[in-house]
């Protein structure tokens, strides 16, 4: 059943919460605030009762697929299960009712958590120092590019290019360009890894860094990673690691050990914090020694068992957001790290790799991709072979919805036609993987036998396929009474 908008449920006089009485008259208000400063018209907020409010959002919630209700193998997003204890603890009043400008003596407990989380991320990544400031992965990228920029400015080197493989995530080029760099695209070789020739040809003293994703977005570990790093380093560039895919590497290898100078983490991926319907995330950056001075303000430091915020860092790029990062997300990551411990993290990565390969193996014949062979934590297949039946990957994705499964990432990475990018995560059982595999095999059969079933999917969702063209042609971005 469709759910009316909250505005359509509004009637003057209804209220959803009781508030204390206030006895301030017009005149008194004007004594405080001259009337030309006052708002002239209504606020345009709805007036509904609490029961209707609750029913509205509860019903809306049921119109979502989510980790807690569905398999959600969205490639590159590491949609792993979000442990409930993390939610409980991160919501403790003494953790989440703290003002950023309270005296340091009154926030030592939470600073401990932030500090220790950084230290653990350093150990996992082989970086020398981690900052928790960035609010998400892309923010971490931007922060990092600004640091690299600052470093070269400091060294008086003019480098304004960044190398980015053609398989990279869109935030990589976007962040680079936001930081004032020009993007140079590096081709992938037929194995789906960085083409060393293309790299060598493009690497020079104008290049500030290469942005690498390891494993890359095809789910493949860059086997020539040491050569890549060598080529870049030898010309004075930095190796930046997009850590979105760290879920493949924990306890197996460290970016710091294979040449990364700087990287970001996605706590909302690898470290199990929920994705919140789009955020908040947290995108800490980690750096090797030489980039430490440029980390954003403030850093959290410890001196004789007391934690403090260090703003005395003259070379820092400054602040990248207000206050100290997405603290609540970090608390959840801390809880995750403590529950898993040193033993658990490697198991996470190993099982993520196992699951991805199981899916790959079972589906690669039916949805062949140009890049074959063993993958890491995710695999990229392709719906290209279905085009001859007039079915596109988009249709396959929509049809999966009818099976109660959230589709993989589609049409990314760009270098695979009709890509299906599948990241199952270690938190999903073999039974769930089998259900998914069977659904995709079943869909392949349907494409053969009755392709319109697939082309017209979904059939069981709260709305059928929505008209995106119409939505974009004449954008309606807010509700208005008479329309």
């Amino acid at each position: 059943m469709s759910e009316a908008l909250i505005f359509e449920k509004s009637k003057p006089g209804r209220k959803a919460v009781s508030l204390p009485a206030i006895d301030l008259g017009e005149e008194e208000i004007k004594k405080f605030i001259p009337s030309h400063y006052l708002r002239k018209t209504g606020l345009g907020l709805p007036q509904v009762s609490e029961p209707d409010l609750v029913r509205h959002f509860t019903r809306l919630s049921q119109k979502n697929m989510s980790i807690d209700t569905n398999f959600y193998p969205l490639g590159s997003c590491t949609m792993k299960y979000n442990p409930k204890i993390n939610e409980t603890l991160a919501n403790l009043p003494h953790l989440c009712q703290l003002h950023p400008y309270q005296p340091l003596s009154t926030i030592q407990g939470i600073l401990h958590i932030l500090y220790e989380t950084s230290r653990m991320l350093e150990e996992i990544s082989g970086m020398d120092k981690v900052s928790l400031q960035p609010a998400a992965g892309a923010h971490g990228e931007l922060t990092s590019m600004l640091m690299i920029r600052a470093c070269f400015e400091d060294k008086k080197e003019k480098r304004d290019k960044i190398l980015i493989p053609d398989s990279a995530h869109g935030t990589n080029p976007a962040s680079s360009s936001l930081a004032g760099f020009k993007v140079v695209k590096i081709k992938s070789n037929p194995e789906g890894e960085v083409d060393l020739n293309s790299l060598s040809k493009n690497m020079n003293e104008e290049v500030a860094c290469i942005m690498l994703t390891v494993p890359n977005t095809l789910g493949l570990f860059e086997r020539n990673i040491l050569d890549i790093a060598e080529i870049v380093h030898s010309k004075g560039g930095f190796v930046y690691l997009d850590g979105a895919n760290l879920n493949a590497l924990m306890g197996i290898t460290k970016p710091g050990d294979f040449g990364a100078d700087i990287m970001h983490f996605n706590l909302h991926k690898t470290f199990s914090t929920p994705h919140g319907g789009g955020g908040p995330g947290s995108g800490p950056v980690g750096v090797r020694e030489k980039l430490v001075p440029y980390l954003p303000l403030p850093t959290i430091e410890k001196k004789e068992d007391t934690y403090y915020l260090n703003y005395q860092r003259p070379k820092s790029i400054g602040k990248v957001r207000s206050f100290y990062g997405n603290v609540k997300v970090v608390i959840k990551a801390y809880c995750y790290l403590r529950i898993l411990g040193k033993e658990g993290l490697r198991e996470v990565s190993e099982n993520a790799i196992l699951s991805a390969n199981y899916i790959r193996k079972k589906l690669e014949d039916c949805y062949p991709s140009p890049y074959k062979g063993v993958c890491m934590h995710e695999c990229v297949l392709s719906g290209e072979s279905k085009r001859e039946k007039g079915v596109r990957t988009l249709d396959i994705a929509k049809r999966l919805l009818d099976f109660g499964i959230h589709p993989p990432t589609i049409y990314f990475p760009l270098i695979v036609e009709e890509a299906l990018m599948i990241e199952p995560c270690e938190t999903e059982s073999k039974e769930t993987l089998d259900t998914f595999i069977n659904a995709l095999l079943q869909i392949a059969k349907e494409i053969e036998e009755n392709s319109s079933l697939v082309r017209e999917a979904p059939h069981n969702t709260p709305v059928l396929r929505v008209d995106e063209v119409k939505a974009n042609r004449n954008p309606r971005v807010k509700w208005q009474r008479d329309k």
């Binding site: 405080f32 119109k63 697929m65 953790l95 306890g251 411990g341 790799i353 073999k430 971005v477 807010k478």
Partner: protein, 449 residues
Amino acid sequence: MDIPYIPHTLKDQQQMLAEIGVKSIEELITVPEEIRLSSPLKLPSAISEMELTREVKKLSSQNASTEEYTSFPGGGIYDHFIPAVVEHLASRSELYTAYTPYQAEASQGTLQAIYEYQTLICNLFQMDVSNASMYDGASSLAEAALMAHRLRKGEKILVAKTLHPEYYQVLYTYTKPSGIKLIQIPYTSEGTCDLTWLEEKMDEKVTGVIIQNPNFFGYLEHNSEIEKIVHKFGSLYIVSSDPISLGLLSSPGEYNADIAVAEGQPLGSPSCLGGECLGIFTTRKEFLRKMPGRIVGETEDKEGKRGFVLILQTREQHIRREGATSNICTNQSLNALKACIYLSCIGEEGLKKIALLCLKNSHYLKEKIEGLPGYSSPFSAPFFKEFVIKTPISPEKINQKLLEAKILGGLDLGRFYPELKNHFLLCATEKRTEKELDKLISLLGEINE
């Protein structure tokens, strides 16, 4: 296999390995030998949920939270009342464990909620369009400056000195690569922007003017006068505002702002050390396609039923890549959801009431404190819920005393403004009771040297 988050049993693993055709997981790891770790990570050992709970509760008890302390700091993060429904509904796990609603048909819950959020924000700010959230107020403002720069290539942006200093710092970090010059607008003894200075400095090379209203000190800027000055030169008028204040005060739309941003934490998110932010971003309809961030639009499904979907994705990084209007991908969607629930709950009358309670409490407090020997009020402009007080001794010392009485005192302005040494910024929201206000007043009275 002792991890509750990994379902694979040994047998599952063996079956899967057999299907794949390898003998061990090891064989699946394509990481070159020479960079594989030879020893386990040096991390603490795994602990159980029970032990973790004990540990984190102990750590949490080392903080002084507003659960036990009375809070008077403001400066961008506020101790506002959050109705119980907000947490209850935002904890619906179908909402918080989903991701970006790329697949519209499987995400109508999130999409409709964001659409409602966009509408609520547009209405409250009286602006044409809102995006689906940025990281925080500061980065939202920085993105506004960059957008202004895309729209009006100029040389400089004039920025109120009464803008939150951390926002200024973020603005500086973000705009530096673009070469835009930031020039600060001084403030007067009213505690607001110096209009004479502004008028003098305005010219065609000014891309935009950035104002905070109520400003960082809590005072109301001369928004209409500023607007006239700014628009005279075709510059863009960019405003950062406190959404709670809009229950009472003139909105950015009313005073004709071109871009209005805000920190949305006061709308239903807890303070959390400043770690539960929400970047509100609104602008004019004609700038829609230049706007950063995600946008939800209304449409229909193939049977004509109303549905919602992400629109104008061609602005975004995953399509436009280096040419995108912003690099943002993961945003603060859950906080936008909380704001949506909060505003729907508080409603038309409620937000007015909240604003009036803030007004009343803060003015009561200010009047009483400036009457105390040794304390005075340096600025004369009207204010909303925050105000500046000159203190007889250093705010740090005062706050130390207050702490003993379980009170979190005001923000020491000397930290950001050398000229405002021995001044602090106090905030009184609707949550403060008369008793709490009186206690602060009487304690301050005792610490007058």
